[in-house]
Amino acid sequence: MPKYIPNAKQYKHPLPIHPLDNLPPLISHNPLSWVYWLYKYLSSTNQLAVNIHVELSSGKHITVADPNEMLYLWRNGFFGTAQLSRSEPTWRQRTLARLGEEDSPQALEHVTQQRRLQRLEFKRQRASFEETKLSLRRQGVDESEILQQERDFLKSLRDREIQLQGQNAVSLRDSDIELFDNEDKLKELEVLELMPVEAVFLTFALPVLDMPIASLLASLCGSRPTYDEIHELCIKYAAYHHYRSHGWCVRSGIKFGCHYLLYKRGPPFHHAEYGVMVLNSEDSMDYTFYSSIARVLGGAKKSFILCYVELCESQDTVLRHWNAGRFDRVFGSYKVGEIMYRRWVPGKNRD
């Protein structure tokens, strides 16, 4: 059983670049302490000792494979998504548990799976009751009698559910043999994938990945792109950088049908409170676009932010900066503004 580490300690740093927080104390009446402080100050750097290695495949998949580096990116700002887990890399632990290899506590995904299976079973029961109900109706049985039967049935379902909780099983597939290498050790299948905007942030804004920004962007948008080819990346990055640099933990919003989710500090601390859709300032979508996202986010108790990104320079200027490698000027040409979209219920706004 690993020692419990409180979140605040485990995720002490909000960014993978750490401040110089081990400087010696400065004592005003002791000039020697000033010299020592200055020495420590000048000899320290915020830079990582070794940058994190990334692989680029099919143009846009940017992955980190080293388990320690994966963990570092996750623990220092919650960057990237482990491909076989929901966010944090847990596949290895989960797989060992599933195959009965290790006596580790069940990972979250496994529990969820069990619950889903149980729910499916109950739905199956429910369906068969519906058929009974139909045949009762066909026989002309009184509606109140049917209603009573339905109540009894629902009660029996609930009882069973309580009974079933806590049960679980180990499953094994033929293909699981292939998961182990010659020395009978579990292969490291899981990699951490970075969203392109995350990778840009971790090369251009913070020197964390071992890749030059120019080659990363060339790989994402082509080597001599037109403005149209860089536009979407530019507005998405401008929005990403905007929220990241104001302290938010920004992660993909795909599961809620939007571009980004904003977390305060990070997923272990808070639920995401905001779902962000990045739009051009002149965009006007069909109303169903707004209403369906608003309903999904509303159902998850998240506020819906329309993040508008406006280009303040000409497209040619931006492209010139891009080609000159002045990406600070490229991204600095965009201005960000926000509108919060909320359903308004008149009856609840009367007093």
Partner: protein
Amino acid sequence: MSGAKIPINLIRGSDNERCGGIAMVFNIDHIRELRNLGFAGILAGTLPSAAQQNAFLSVPLRLMAEEALWLVENGRAFFIAGSEVVIAAIQTLSLQEMKLAERKLDNFFAEQRAFKQVRHQEKLQQLGLSSEMSRTSESLLESSLFVETPNSSDLIARRVKANQFDCPEIQRALCGQLRRNCKNPGDYYVYKALKCDGYYLSPGARFGGRFIAYPGDPLRYHSHMTVQPALNYQNDPLDLLQVVSGGRLGTGVKKLWVVAGVRAQVEAATEEAVSFFSIEWAGFG
């Protein structure tokens, strides 16, 4: 089943050809008839007996442009349009007709009086009092007579008869104007195909779609689908982010998220020109 055609009013002011108009029905019997034909519509007027809420409304019934077009094109209804119908009817109103209206009101009052007197006398008899009507109670009775503001118009009904709105050229022109004014013309083909399958359809913007489809009368049945605005079958890419939010929306409320593609080249499209796909969350991932 096939009775007389139902008049549908297009609310759009006078001589306003550039705007299509809002399709409305004002007669309760017509609304009942529409319901039996599979058109629920949306009631839009204040219900006088409960005038401080919005859940239960009264006449007029508002129809979607697609519903109105379907009804007219299938010979179930015809359009009446333009405020000049009312103005002209009033300007040509003869003294005789005014007198007729007055007499009608008098008759209505007489009926009420008779009814109330009987009720009054019954009450007095129960109390064992003389059944003579006193002067005060008579004036009380007079002031309690009810004056109704009717839903549908005698003026327009007369005018419609004279004007013969229900002729093919006028109806075709009005249909054309209505269609041209729709935001997404493909939606009409989608509507027709769903109608043909027996669905009751309601406007769906609140729920993230163009239509909500019910397998029967919405009074008794849950809706089955949220239907998206029509896509161009060949050219419009499916917006995957919308698939995600649509699918998620449906899971909670047992509705499928339906996309429909309309083939581009068919102008006078038939039902076969629409392809439907139903999407829902797969339950994992």
